[in-house]
């Protein structure tokens, strides 16, 4: 009942998104939002549903972006192959990083993912084909499956929407799969899951790889849409973004990362305008410099979320709506 209700909600959202370009939404902005939302959802699969806080997810997003960009630009592969390569690369990195990181738990796990991602950052920076600070520019979109010309933003928009929606459904399926149920159990009580005969490390590694692969897909798609891949996406602050989006939206909820991505991307793009607006409203001139203080605003949100809204926006809403309802996730 509840599940079908939320399914209806997502269907409505999908319809809105299909119509969005005709209602004045920016295809490119929306597509970037989709990519970030997918990234956040992938991260949430790990953090929200398995309780493992990775601080190295930028490595998968950005790494896949570079691989896809290079494949499309230099090898001239078609976009579908580029996306697959990116996803596969994300999965591969996930396997390596995950294998090392799950050797420790809790806070150590987090530090290890952060450190390994930082190492990869240096490798990307030094690798000749990434273009260092210039980034890998001028990646062609090409023709999907040989007949869908992606050069039109509108076509790209629908392809992007389709891919992200599919990935979202996939994540939903993973969460509500037999595998997902075991993950939930591991998150709740790992020793108990072990005592019920589950080899928890294998589950953790598999979900880590899945999460990394999906992050890779997000990165690959982002490169395809924007036509470039830069260091921003492999820097640890991008991993921080994944955490922030999930935390703001509500970890362990399906819709949370979507909302979180919207909020965070909007802040990045609009906080300057809000600052001016606030300045005009309150005639406090300080607000004008808000646009240059995105990190301060971000930091502030982190602090507020941790201290006051640990459930995140969606989490708080769900909590408010149904205190005795089923578990969040619907």
């Amino acid at each position: 009942m509840r599940q079908s209700l939320s399914l209806l909600g997502y269907l409505a959202l999908l319809l809105v998104l299909v119509a969005a370009p005709f209602m004045g939404a920016y295809p490119i902005f929306m597509m970037k939002l989709f990519c970030m939302a997918l990234f956040a959802c992938a991260f949430n699969l790990l953090f929200g549903y398995t309780g493992m806080l990775s601080f190295g997810h930028a490595a998968f997003l950005g790494g896949a972006g570079y691989i896809t960009g290079h494949a499309l630009k230099v090898w001239g592969v078609p976009p579908e192959v580029g996306l697959l390569l990116g996803t596969a690369f994300g999965a591969f990195l996930g396997l390596v990083v995950g294998y090392l990181a799950i050797k420790r738990q809790g806070i150590y796990f987090t530090m290890i993912t952060l450190a390994l991602a930082q190492m990869l950052y240096f490798l990307w920076l030094q690798a000749p084909f990434t273009g260092g600070e210039d980034g890998l520019q001028g990646v062609p979109r090409g023709t999907l499956l040989g007949f869908i010309d992606l050069r039109s933003d509108l076509t790209m928009y629908y392809v992007c929407l389709a891919i992200v929606a599919a990935a979202f459904l996939f994540i939903m399926r993973v969460v509500h799969s037999p595998f997902g149920h075991v993950l939930h159990a591991i998150k709740e009580n790992e020793p108990r899951a072990t005592s019920l005969g589950y080899d928890t490390n294998r589950f953790k590694l598999l979900v880590f790889v899945l999460s990394a692969a999906l992050s890779g897909l997000a990165g690959a798609l982002k490169t395809l849409v924007l036509g470039f891949a830069t260091l921003t996406d492999v820097h640890w602050t991008m991993s921080g973004h994944a955490v922030l989006m999930t935390l703001v939206g509500g970890m362990g909820t399906m819709a949370g990362p979507l909302v979180g991505a919207l909020v965070v991307v909007a802040i990045e793009n609009k906080v300057g305008e809000w600052g001016h607006w606030m300045a005009n409203l309150t005639s406090i001139d300080w607000f004008r410099s808000l646009g240059e203080s995105v990190t301060i605003v971000t930091g502030f949100i982190f602090v507020i979320c941790v201290l006051l809204f640990r459930r995140g926006i969606v989490g708080e809403v769900l909590h408010f709506l149904g205190r005795r309802g089923k578990r969040p996730g619907a």
């Binding site: 530090m111 290890i112 030094q126 203080s293 301060i296 930091g299 502030f300 201290l307």
Partner: protein, 295 residues
Amino acid sequence: MDTFFGVPLPALLGQVLLGLVNGSFYAILSLGLAIIFGLLNVINFAHGALFMMGAVVAWMGGHYLGLSYWTMLLLAPLVVGAFGIVLERLLLRWTYKLDHIYGLLLTLGLTLLIEGAFRSAYGVSGLSYQTPALLQGGVNLGFMFMPKYRAWVVIASLIVCFTAWYLIEKTRLGAYLRAGTENPRLVEAFGINVPLMITLTYGAGVALAAFAGVLAAPIYQVSPLMGQNLIITVFAVVVIGGMGSILGSIVTGLMLGVVEGLTRVFYPEASSTVVFVIMAIVLLIRPAGLFGKEK
């Protein structure tokens, strides 16, 4: 004749000495992290930002008040430590009952706030900080020129690390701390104000970071972002060392500084990644870290 892989031995010795300088920073910072983690169970992500604050506050003291390096070497840790105490009292303590992850996220947020605030106040290109007159110049060791200041950094940090070790391992206060790390509730039942102790410990850990910051001010660019990359490397150091013991974190810090220094000579391209590679290897062989205790 006296060469090692084509590098003259004395020169190699020089590089080891230089590695110790960086190792000193790793040691002080990972020591601070370990102390804080021991009692608060919080991984203090803001450590890098507080390191930066130490350097900037030292600069402020000189710039606005004309206070000397030596004064600031004492004063900056106090000021930043006091700031840390405020943070702990106002914010950090609400996370103790939660998962450790929230402590990390909160301090990450604080890092962004602190760095952002300093950036909007002082820009990013940095502030100039002169080496104190007493320590300018250097000594020619024959095989290399050793700036006096670098030697001072190694000595000062060894002194600080040793003092910290002594305080913790050999004194009554240290006994409270060690006992508190094992079983804070019982220590409290003996009438010791553990909440206060936690606050002060955080202040002290933070002061250590600030001290390292002041030490770094004359040799590194003093800028709001100076702690950002350092802290991630220190995290790797912490994973390698295991935060099991005070001495362990000091030794690991120094050791990795030296290893990194030698990498700069033999394979400079890898010098930024070597610590992480070592971390990966240690994880494979000894997941609990070199000095870590099995759970």
